[in-house]
């Protein structure tokens, strides 16, 4: 915080106040927290709105309409780029009123269809296949065979790691298996092998989550630090004028 213009000063103080107000939630829900949050939501919403307008709606809908002019719009070439989108959007706008909203389903259906397709396609091409292949590649001859001039321990460690990696992937995958057999006691049970795999899988899941959790914790600590330091800076800059 070098020298600040009055506006910046006011802004910075506001920011500091808001920080304190939000952190006050530590004590429990209170009006300062709510005030800060509502203010924040309002600003965030407004900003998101303007962004959407300038980045999508204007270039994608208004601009072509304006630039083409009424005559241009009717050209067949514009059916796809202008007319259909506008029709869809008008349909979507029907959603505003409960009375007409039932007719606004079409654009939603389109959105859902596209979204679902992206989900499926992305998951297959992006995760399922590459990750399976990657899992298969954990043990390659190069991994298995000791490299020239490497200590036996390193080689051993590499093999162990590869095996653990593989085991973790497989057992974790197995754990989530939902279908089971009904046992003699009527409960849903899995075969012995499955149960063993499941338990190992759970251990690996716990470890994975533990690592991620610790990571997130470390990240948020940094953020907490940043907040506190920010407050410190504001206070000090105020004290030093």
């Amino acid at each position: 915080m070098a020298e600040l213009t009055t506006l910046d000063l006011v802004g910075t103080i506001t920011a500091a106040l808001l920080t304190v107000m939000v952190l006050s939630y530590l004590l429990g829900d209170n009006l300062f927290f709510r005030l800060a949050v509502y203010l924040f939501i309002g600003v965030a919403a407004g900003y998101a709105g303007s962004i959407a307008w300038y980045n999508v709606i204007w270039p994608g809908l208004i601009d072509p309409l304006v630039s083409q002019g009424l005559a241009g719009i009717l050209q067949p070439s514009n059916i796809v780029t202008i007319i259909v989108p506008w029709l869809l959007i008008l349909l979507l706008l029907l959603k505003v009123s409960p009375a007409t909203s039932r007719y606004g389903g079409l654009p939603l259906a389109l959105l859902v269809g596209v979204g679902a397709a992206v989900v499926v396609g992305g998951a297959i091409t992006g995760t399922l296949i590459p990750q399976s292949l990657a899992a298969m590649g954990t043990l390659t001859p190069s991994t298995l065979l000791p490299q020239a001039g490497e200590e036996i321990i390193v080689w051993f460690e590499r093999i162990i790691s590869a095996i653990i990696l593989l085991l973790a992937t497989v057992t974790t995958l197995m754990y989530f298996r939902f279908t089971a057999r009904r046992s003699a006691t009527g409960e849903a049970r899995r075969s012995k092998l499955e149960r063993i795999a499941a338990v190992i899988g759970q251990v690996f899941i716990a470890i994975t989550f533990g690592v991620i959790y610790a990571g997130a914790l470390a990240a948020t600590v940094v953020i907490l630090v940043e907040r506190i330091q920010f407050l410190r800076d504001v206070v000090s800059s105020l004290l030093t004028g």
Binding site: Y38, Y47, L128, I164, G210
Partner: protein, 211 residues
Amino acid sequence: MKVRANLVLAATAVGSGIFVLLGYFIDHEVILTLRLILMRWSVLLAAVALFLGLFNLLTVHWSKVSEQEKGWPYSAVLILAFLVTLILGLWFGPDNQTLLMLFNYIQLPVEASLMALLTISLTVAGFRLVSRRRDPFSLIFVVVVMLVLLGTGPWLVASDSDAYILLGQLRNWVAQVWASGGARGILLGVALGAILTGLRVLLAVDRPYGD
């Protein structure tokens, strides 16, 4: 009539979905163009939908204000902030200095502070986990968390001792072998679940867009 409508909706969803989906696998020009078009449309629609969502937000809070419901002043603040920001944004564009300041002095600090709150929430949850969920896995979980934290954070003393380095390496090993393995398993599993969830929609079994 109503039924017909359902069919049109389902057909729309399935149709658009199929083309987008095939685009992932088939390098055919027609499909790719169709897919591109559909995606552009959906991006536009999503943006408009955002506005409708904002409108929804506004109405909900406006009703609170107009009916003087409990806590209506907050809603008033929200509406005010929203309108001011939106008008500024629409008038001067999203990259004007005023908006920049609104962001830097309101949005940024509040979000960061919420994340800071998360630190406490996570720590509390970690503290309570073992006592409230009695299974070996929660124990493993917390132990691993501590191990990784120890391996990540600096030590006050002997931070360049072999022990520290060893722990750091252990942490890396756990994170990069054990956790990666588990993570890959979870990734694959989630992918499986997501694929079938998507397929259910593409088969018009789930029809969230209404019947």
